[in-house]
């Protein structure tokens, strides 16, 4: 079996050959070989996309003014915490954002992460490519055994940062994880494909991007929130990372030209009449659907 690997950032290929995994009890015996190993969770704070939004002056306003922890990253963190509870990994969370993002990052500590780093002073309008380069510099300096992160962020749904980061690191990368196990010094990742699920063997160090169907992230408890105050949170300016001068002046390779609301769906047509009329209307309706759309 080979592993998910990124060949280059422009063209992402998967070298692995998938197997239909046959699970046996013996195969998944937990081991305690992972003491003092670290999972790094890369997290982002996003607008609360579940709150009401409105468009004004070419930008989007959300009715909840406070940012939230990206739901996909929350799933990644939850899985890291489950792996930590079973195998003793330390869980460190890194986030790029302004200093006030520390409150969102503290939520990760309240959920149970051991430590956190907030990377501040990111270049203006940083896009996925910029974020991936900054994270790569941090990962190379920090040296975790695995990076687990959301497959995308809930605000833009772009989903590029994970793949680009894996490319910079030249690490095995498994996408769209809906289950993760740690066994025999490797992560076993169940990933959701278009029509089937695959188990991927991914040796350390590796990068895994997670579906939000992976789990139901825990809600921080009051005790967790109070305990989070005592956990280390490092605030680090990006220009102090290796190669930081170049990182802090990176220019985005994409720009947002405009933001517009989704067009409203056209009202449906209510057809009344006898069976013949209804069938005729149905056939007429089907006839208007492009051929590629039928039965796909």
């Amino acid at each position: 079996m080979q592993h998910a690997r990124v060949l280059n950032s422009g063209k992402i290929q998967n070298e692995w050959t998938s197997i239909w995994h046959i699970q046996t009890e013996a195969f998944f015996l937990y081991s305690d070989m992972s003491q003092d190993r670290t999972i790094l969770v890369c997290a982002k704070e996003t607008p609360d996309t579940y709150s009401d939004l409105s468009f004004s002056g070419g930008s989007v306003q959300f009715s909840n003014p406070r940012p939230v922890l990206n739901a996909y990253d929350a799933s990644a963190l939850e899985e890291a915490l489950v792996l930590s509870e079973a195998h003793g990994f330390r869980v460190h969370v890194v986030m790029i954002g302004p200093e006030k993002a520390s409150e969102t990052l503290r939520k990760a500590l309240a959920m149970g992460a051991d430590e956190a780093t907030l990377l501040t002073d990111a270049p203006k309008d940083a896009d996925s490519a910029v974020i991936a380069k900054i994270l790569a510099a941090f990962v190379e300096q920090f040296g975790p055994d695995a990076v687990i992160m959301g497959r995308q962020s809930q605000d833009t749904d772009v989903g590029l940062a994970g793949g680009m980061l894996a490319d910079h690191l030249q690490w095995p990368w498994t996408t769209n994880a809906i289950g993760i196990r740690f066994e025999q010094e490797a992560f076993w990742v169940k990933r959701q494909g278009d029509s089937a699920q695959e188990w991927i063997d991914s040796p350390m160090p590796c990068l895994i991007t997670c579906s939000n169907n992976l789990n139901d992230p825990r809600i921080p408890t009051l005790k967790g929130i109070m305990a989070s105050k005592k956990k280390p949170m490092h605030i680090v300016a990006i220009d102090s990372l290796p190669g930081g001068d170049a990182l802090s002046t990176l220019a985005p390779s994409t720009t947002i030209e405009s933001l517009t609301p989704m067009p409203e769906r056209a009202a449906g047509e209510l057809v009344e009449g006898d069976l013949e009329t209804l069938v005729e209307a149905l056939m007429k309706g089907l006839g208007s659907i492009p051929e590629t759309g039928v039965g796909s």
Binding site: Q61, P65, K107, I219, T221, L222, G224, M226, S228
Partner: protein, 394 residues
Amino acid sequence: MFNIHDPYLFEDELAEDDRMIMEAAREYCQANLEPRALRGNQDEIFDPEIPKEMADMGLLGASIAEEYGGGGASQTAYGLIAREVERVDSGYRSFMSVQSSLVMVPIEKFGTEEQKKQYLPKLASAEMIGCFGLTEPDHGSDPSSMVTRAVPTDGGWVLNGAKTWITNSPIADVAIVWAKVKEEEEDVIRGFIVETSWKGVSTPHIKDKMSLRASETGELVFQDVFVPETHMFPDIRGLKGPFTCLNSARYGIAWGTVGAAEFCYERSRTYVGERKQFGHPLAANQLPQTKLANMLTDITTMQLLAWRLGQLRDAGKVDPAMISLAKRHNVGKALDIARVARDMHGGNGVTGDYRVIHHVINLESVNTYEGTYDIHGLILGREITGIQAFVPKG
């Protein structure tokens, strides 16, 4: 940008801990309590899993010291939790208030070290459920006339009497009971920790309650119940004991009703935006708009009152009359808002699906319990005029 949920941005002023606790409580309540609320109210079900869930979240005894199993959080955090729980149902908040304010607070404030160690951790973890017995069948607003009495016996006391309208009593393991004892020929109110499994204690369920149906309410009946000396609060005497507990619970109500009012406002706002009559959304009419404006104005006053009261409690600068003012104002306004919300929903307002009528009927109880709207008016009147008007002069 004008925030239509928090116009004066009071949530921005909260301490980070408090805001995080608020958001965690909101997430729990919306994910776990809201889906149970309709059936809980309709079928009179208090899911026995709820106390354990709340305990796991740290919502029971949130502001009790951590060394006794509490959360060690601020008074503001406790209030914010009440707001989130009551956003779903006042019955769930009643359960939480009783456990936290009326049972854990007196044990922490008035109990011996042994009493604290014996009961507080188990109450925080929901291993034990608590209730509070002050009101009697013939003595509601006038608790000093209570007839429940404890008389001394070898090694303790013998308790006789009855308490009614006791939230949690049918499911309680322990009751904080206030009873009269004779001390130097005078009747003095003293507090006892009574376990409901003891001989002579019964806790009948009150049937056919039409309000707060998602929480258990019953009586506490004591027939020659032996209470060991170790289960009396050693020092607290008089109504100061129960009123200390009630002040804490009333403070929680001032916050909780903010949540109930916000729920009714939000439901109304959504409803009039979606419901079309005469070819236009109801929200396009002047009457619904000004009704929503009135609701939001009142909610803003409620939010700011509760928030400032929390600050005062955290700073140790609160006077009981401040709590009376907030309890009275916020419950009264919440009830007004809920009634208008019911009206704005038209016929749908009386169905369970929209749940505004649940809040209307729940708030009728909340307006009455823990000091009625009028009694709190008389507490304020006494402060303002210097003349008590509780006892009729006629």
